[in-house]
Amino acid sequence: MSVALDITLCALILGVGWASVTGQGVFRAVIFFITYGLLLAIAWARLGAYDVALAEAAISAGLTGVLLLAAYGRLRRLNAGAEPPIAVNLPAAVVATGIAAGLVWAWFALPAPTAPDLSEVLPQSGVGNPVTAVLLNFRAWDTLLESIILLAALIGVWMLARDDAWEAPLGLPYHARPGGVLASFGRVLPPIGLIFGVYLVWAGADTTGGAFQGGTVLAAVCLVTMMAGILRAPRVAQPAWRAALVLGPGVFLLSGLAGALFAQGFLGLPPDLAKPAIVTIEAALTVSIAVTLVLLVIGPPDDGGHVA
């Protein structure tokens, strides 16, 4: 029964993925891609990886989807959204099949796994959720660099602004119709989303959730509030927003250095202080992740002007 369910699910995933690559029209491809992400999140839940399921739904389907939709909107305004019909590309198909076949071969050839034994070290990590323990304690260096990658992407996106628009607010000028659906939605949703986002971060220590998933939900809340016209898009020059961007990586780095001075080394957390330290780092990270994601989605400073 469950195998039949998994086969159906995978068939759906493949079908939607196929449509997003080979179907007609870029807009439909984006919609198929968002659906694909949501189906994939179900697959992760079937595999018992609930943290990944949440990340896939919130980050891959949700935020990447919004990014693609926003970009498609801008491309259409620039008359660059269209795509001529294409023929089947045989060499590409051969390469693609070869790579997929290599992975299939590897799956059946792989030896039995030898997972590292974490049962002894998990109690010292300070948190009950083993994935959070890996992300914020055992492999904190990866996570620290990853939070900095988000920041680097944002600086990169800002570099794509036109020079004469640099002082303008971030993102395209946007106006919600007063009293419209979005405007009222924008007043109702934020409190609920805020609570859910904060819960995800707090719960992440011991069950499913975490800074990246929680930060994504908070980012979504912030975006809706901006689209409703309640919160205004900032400018690069506003220091509070820039401070919020560096808060998380900054706290993470400084706590890592504190570990080098007072505990078992760089990024080390003494077992009895690990839980409060991880919650503090996650809280700071959540703020920065949420702000960075919002600014990534709304894009570089833009005064709406065009260059011919």
């Binding site: 990886a49 970009a71 590409a92 997929a100 076949a101 299939v104 083993p130 992300l135 988000l150 944002l154």
Partner: protein, 100 residues
Amino acid sequence: MSLSVFALTGAALVGLGVYGLLARAHMLRRVIAFNLIGSGLFLFFGAAAARSTDVDPIPQALIITGIVVALSTSALAVGLVVALARSTGKAYLPDDEGGA
């Protein structure tokens, strides 16, 4: 059995993504294809990690990191596509025009 289904789906998604990356020239399409490859690889990885008797959280953590990295690169890629279209009027790289 189920694990093999997911692993082989992952492999097929990688193949689909590679095809999209090579065969489609519209840059948003390529960003989507790139995300398919990444998520296919992760699905393969997740299935491989689920083979061990007790759950190994390390692959899950690596995959979450990978998802965030993919989002970051997608954001910069999408920004570049829009900037390219603004300066040239096209969402194609100079040599790949026409979409074939």
